[in-house]
Point group: C2
Chain length 267, copies 2
Amino acid sequence: MKTPDMSLVLVGAGNVAMALGPALQQAGYPIRQVYSRSEASAGTLAGELNVPFTVSPQEIVDDADGYVFSLKDDALVSVLSRMRRPKHGIYIHTAGSLPADVFEPYVSRYGVLYPLQTFSKGRAVSFSEVPLFVEAGTPDDEQLLLQLARSLSRNVRLLAGEKRRYLHLAAVFACNFTNHMYTLASDVLTEQSLEFDWLLPLIRETARKVETLSPAEAQTGPAVRYDESVMDKHLQLLTDENRRDVYRLISRSIHLHSENENKKTDQ
Amino acid sequence: MKTPDMSLVLVGAGNVAMALGPALQQAGYPIRQVYSRSEASAGTLAGELNVPFTVSPQEIVDDADGYVFSLKDDALVSVLSRMRRPKHGIYIHTAGSLPADVFEPYVSRYGVLYPLQTFSKGRAVSFSEVPLFVEAGTPDDEQLLLQLARSLSRNVRLLAGEKRRYLHLAAVFACNFTNHMYTLASDVLTEQSLEFDWLLPLIRETARKVETLSPAEAQTGPAVRYDESVMDKHLQLLTDENRRDVYRLISRSIHLHSENENKKTDQ
């Protein structure tokens, strides 16, 4: 693993930056500075890395070799428009849904380093297993970002923004929406004084199944076998209107999907 | 682990029976017979266990010690009404949403053995990790079923039907609906010639996170941080009407939920 001595500024100190910053520092990249609108967030990440921080875009240094932006999409343009132009550094963002050329009005060198993973504060993720998707404005910068990515992870690919946004969309279903299903399950159990932890072996196996079966093959439950008796009972138990809406729509979607496949049966 | 020499008939040969049957046989329970409406299913399971099978409820033997019903809820009553009454055996079903006393019109001894797990043909599940929830009509049969359950799994609990049906409902969210989120993600990727396997580290980490964080704490993504710019872009990419409906409803549900919690931020 080479360390190109490339100094970096972290612009943003949220969940992604909190995971990526320490991984970059450990891989040997000197972190020059942390920026966040929130002093608490900036201070926490800067403290962990033992580097200076600022809450003012104007005070971001202009002579770093690279700037890693991990901000809400809406915040990015606002920060960009207030930063000084960098002397030579490359702008890199970590967003799934933003094109690389969002940087074009501001700098000539830019790229993307998209980590396909979910990051929460207080939970360490081993970066070496995280799939990283790279894009850059020029072949030279592509090589530079590939090298940077490979110093973090064994799982690195070039991917154009057109495709990356679909990958991000798929990740919303597979991660964010999946986690919300866990939340709704947890709500049902908590109201009945039952333990969410009882579901953990099921949650684990559900995730593991799709390592060897396609998700369509792995589908089980009342909706895919169109067991109306069970579905009706479940709707009677659901007093919360939002949960009922979710139950109905997802059951319908499962059923729609399975009509195009061989029917599975539980008997 | 004791083997009570209790002979069993498997009524139903679907995913649950295909997992439970071999586990029972391995634990030492003699399997007398397999019934399924489908000759192919009955034959497959009976062949694996090396026991006789029938496709006719009338031909189910009447002198076994126990009958394990793993059928669609709708099919259960139809089969029950056509079986001969057992001489002494206990009726046991494996369903989350059915009360134990569904058997009351037919037999005096009955109970439930509910495995909280997802079973697919062609995928072996280690039963010793499967949470099993037991209920029975009398304290004696409760002890019998607890003994049976403990010979299969280390994770056994008594649970009344009133609570079990909520557990089953929660499992539909945490497993069946979760798996459908994987399916929708897979559809998005397949249409773009991208690899579903790229999502596996994300799917794994999403499942693992809720072993240490509550699902509400673990929530990430555009909906929980109310990133309208990203959500609008995603809706533009979704041409399939059903996927759009799911995206809108789940995003709304995540947002509703997070309004009652501390807002998470990615910057």
